[in-house]
Each structure stands twice: as structure tokens, then as C-alpha cells.
């Protein structure tokens, strides 16, 4: 059953990314690639030969894929089994995948990769601040931050409508977590030659693309569970589609923040929203 869940997440992630490319192209008045383009990319990449710099790069890529698949198994979507975690544990489990990419990047002796990884970690420091404040808010007002409990607590009203400021703050942190403009300083295509992925080709890049599918699925599903009520798999799917549509439209419209400004922005603006939310709820 978990295997089915992972396959479902893979397919949904691939089509979400495909829809994202299409929508982003339409925003820019282009036609865009077909929606099954990411699947084509994965098949092509897995069938292409590649180079590797050593065992740690291989291990890093396995850890990245395993870590993101593990995250999929932690999101409560109704008919599938899931690991019962709370939001803090979820944040730390998501660090396994980052660690995998980081290890792969360490072995690659390319300075662009190191710069990209340093920026990725600093951006992680940035968006974890509003996420931690969100955890504090959940404990403060609801007494629990377990994902399953939060999903069931939204039966009478979604948190998007009950705590709109909190949702807005988390939405900005979500943009940074997904690495979307204006927070795409990590891959920064024309700046540091795709950052940590600079020496990844063939199946290594294929694995990272699959990691991107799972990561997209997990980020959107987490927002859906936390703020849009969760539920059965087709409800979550609809919410993910709408959410991802909005994320891509916002992302297509912004240029990039410099890494320092991105981090400081994430410390100030979403945190302000969450703190205002505290003030509003407490009064």
C-alpha cells in the first residue's frame, strides 16, 4: 500500500511539475512543453550515461531520493498509510533529503556546487523561522502540532479562513521551501550554473528530478493538510492543483532576490504575518 502511495505521489508530482511548466509558459505568452514533459525528461535521463565523482555522490543521490520518498510517507492522505509525525519531526525528516543533496555536492569539487549548497542552507535557515513560529502558534492555540490531528481539527473550518495571516506567512515560506522565484537563488540558472546540480548528469540528474517531483508533492500536500483541511486523496489532489497554480503564477512574475536579502526577507515578512496572527487571535 505504501508502494502504491509512492507511485501515486510520483505521478502526481510529475504532472504537477508539468502543469507548472505549462502555466508558467502561458503566463509568459508561450505555449510551453506538453504536460508529460517531466516524465519524458526522467526516462531520458535514466537512460543516459553519466559521470560520478565518487561513492559519496552516489550515496548522496540515494539519500536524497529516499529522504523525499520518506517525506511522502509522512503526509496523512486518507486511504494511504502514513507515519504519524508532528510538524517539528517533519521539518527534521525533510532535512535528510537536504543532507543527501549536500553530501553529493560535497564530493563534487566544483566551486559552483559549494556556493549553491551554501546558499541552499542559508535559505533553509531563512524559511525555517516562519515555520517554527507556525509550530509555536499551533501549540499555543490548539495544543498539538501532529499532522493527522491538525487535519481532523479542520472539520469545522479550514485554517486558511480561520487564521488567514498565518496562512499568508506560511505561503511565503512555502515559496522559499519549493525554491520558486523570488527565492530561487539556489539553482539560479544564469548565475551559478544550476548550483548544486552542476556536476549531475544522466541518472544522477534523473534522481534529482524525481526528488523534485516528490518534493513538489510533499510541499503542496503539506500546505493542503495544514491549512486547507486535508482529507481523501482526490480532495487533497484538487487542493494541490489550485495551490500549485497560484504558486506558479506568483513565481512567474518575480525576479530573483539576492541570497542575503532572501534570507532576511524570510526572517522579517512571514514572521511578521505570524506574529500579527498571534496578536489577532490572542485579543
Amino acid at each position: 500500500m505504501s508502494v502504491l502511495y509512492l507511485l501515486y505521489a510520483f505521478v502526481v508530482g510529475a504532472f504537477l511539475v508539468g502543469f507548472g511548466m505549462k502555466i508558467s509558459a502561458r503566463v509568459k505568452r508561450k505555449y510551453g512543453p506538453p504536460v508529460y514533459q517531466p516524465l519524458m525528461d526522467v526516462i531520458k535521463l535514466l537512460s543516459k550515461r553519466s559521470i560520478s565523482h565518487g561513492l559519496v555522490q552516489d550515496l548522496g543521490v540515494w539519500m536524497a531520493l529516499a529522504g523525499s520518498a520518506l517525506l511522502v510517507l509522512a503526509i496523512p492522505v486518507s486511504p494511504f498509510p502514513f507515519i504519524n509525525l508532528d510538524l517539528i519531526a517533519f521539518v527534521y525528516v525533510s532535512a535528510i533529503a537536504s543532507l543527501g543533496v549536500a553530501l553529493g555536492t560535497a564530493q563534487v569539487a566544483n566551486p559552483y556546487a559549494s556556493i549553491g549548497m551554501a546558499r541552499a542552507l542559508m535559505l533553509m535557515l531563512g524559511y525555517e523561522v516562519p515555520v517554527l513560529l507556525t509550530v509555536v502558534f499551533f501549540y499555543f492555540s490548539l495544543g498539538t502540532a501532529t499532522l493527522a490531528d491538525l487535519a481532523t481539527l479542520q472539520k469545522e473550518g479550514w485554517f486558511l479562513f480561520k487564521y488567514p495571516l498565518l496562512s499568508a506567512g506560511y505561503y511565503l515560506a512555502l515559496l522559499a521551501e519549493m525554491g520558486k522565484p523570488p527565492f530561487d537563488v539556489v539553482t539560479a540558472p544564469s548565475e551559478i550554473a544550476s548550483g548544486p546540480m552542476v556536476e549531475y548528469g544522466g541518472k544522477y540528474l534523473g534522481f534529482l528530478v524525481i526528488y523534485a517531483f516528490f518534493h513538489t508533492f510533499v510541499s503542496t500536500a503539506l500546505f493542503a493538510v495544514l491549512f486547507l483541511g486535508g482529507g481523501t486523496w482526490w480532495e487533497v489532489l484538487l487542493k494541490q492543483l489550485v495551490l500549485y497554480f497560484s504558486v506558479v503564477v506568483v513565481a512567474s512574475s518575480f525576479p530573483r532576490f539576492v541570497s542575503e536579502k532572501a534570507v532576511v526577507y524570510q526572517w522579517i515578512v512571514p514572521s511578521l504575518f505570524v506574529i500579527l496572527n498571534f496578536v489577532v487571535v490572542a485579543s
Binding site: 519524458m40 543516459k48 550515461r49 552542476v198
Partner: protein, 177 residues
């Protein structure tokens, strides 16, 4: 009987993979010469190369296609050869513009080369000076047909006749290749 079925499945799988490969082409965004000015409109809103599955990437490690746009000076050729060798198979070289075919209008220059095929195995030439985006797209359609048919690309030729290519390159650069 069983071997026949397995080989048939192998064929279908092979065809499927070739079809996938033809629909997802990563082009190294390496603008070697003045032909590069035509890549940008082909990529962006007006002519939109991405709807054919062709995407630019930043490093040779991730790229399938090396696009030699225009004339190649000796300096650039050295780096292009290193970039080509850093790419992984299957990889294709597309010569773009008449300078790669016969030297173009720099045919009598001391600093450029006249025939790219001597130094790198070229899979496709797109003629023009420079080719318009419609011509580029038609050229990539031919390349896609070639990939889909499973025909081995120039990279196999490079591996088989490496000495010949290296001899040509050494003639240009001496031993400092």
C-alpha cells in the same frame, strides 16, 4: 518463443525510450559565435522551442546537444572540445550556420576553422547565415527524427575513430590539447 517475446518487449521498450529521448532534448546553452543571437528568440515567447521539449541547460554534464553557433576560433574550439568530452553519451553536435560547414564568410581567416566535422563528429548541419528560428526548429525536427529512429549518433564515431579526430586536433593545437 520466449526469447522472441522478450526481444519484442526489448524492442518496444527500446522504441519507447528512443521516443522519450527525442522528446526531451537538453541543449547546452553555450553561445560560441554570432549565431547565438538567434537562439534567444527561438527559446522565448515568439518561437518557443520548449514546446518541442528542447530546454537549455547550463553545464555540459547535463546536456545532450552541443550547439556550435557560428564561426569557431581556435581558442573556442579548444574549449568546445573539452566541453564535448565532458558531456556523457548519447550526445549530439549540431553545426549551426555556414561557418561550420565551409567556413562561411570567414573562410580565409587565420583564426577560425573551416570544417567542423574534422574535429568533432557533427550530426546535423543547419545552413544559413544565420538561420532564422523557423529554420532552427526545422533542423531540430530532423534531429528528433534521427534520435527517435535509434540511429547511433556521432559520439560512437568519436569513440571509434578517436585517433583520427585527435590527430586533426593536434594538427591545430600542437600537443597542448
Amino acid at each position: 518463443m520466449k526469447a522472441g517475446v522478450l526481444s519484442k518487449i526489448g524492442d518496444i521498450l527500446g522504441d519507447f525510450i528512443n521516443w522519450a529521448r527525442s522528446n526531451s532534448i537538453f541543449v547546452l546553452h553555450y553561445c560560441t559565435g554570432c549565431g547565438a543571437v538567434e537562439i534567444s528568440p527561438t527559446l522565448t515567447s515568439r518561437y518557443d522551442m520548449t514546446r518541442f521539449g528542447i530546454q537549455p541547460v547550463a553545464t555540459p554534464r547535463q546536456a545532450d546537444v552541443l550547439l556550435i553557433t557560428g564561426y569557431l576560433s581556435l581558442k573556442t574550439l579548444k574549449r568546445v572540445i573539452w566541453a564535448y568530452e565532458q558531456m556523457s553519451a548519447p550526445k549530439y553536435v549540431v553545426g549551426f550556420g555556414s561557418c561550420t560547414i565551409n567556413g562561411g564568410h570567414y573562410w580565409d581567416s587565420y583564426a577560425t576553422i573551416n570544417l567542423l566535422d574534422l574535429y568533432l563528429p557533427v550530426d546535423l548541419y543547419i545552413a544559413g547565415c544565420m538561420p532564422r528560428p523557423e529554420a532552427i526548429i526545422e533542423g531540430f525536427e530532423v534531429l528528433k527524427k534521427k534520435i527517435k529512429s535509434g540511429e547511433p549518433g556521432g559520439w560512437i564515431d568519436y569513440e571509434r575513430r578517436k585517433d583520427w579526430y585527435k590527430a586533426n586536433q593536434r594538427r591545430l593545437f600542437g600537443d597542448k590539447i
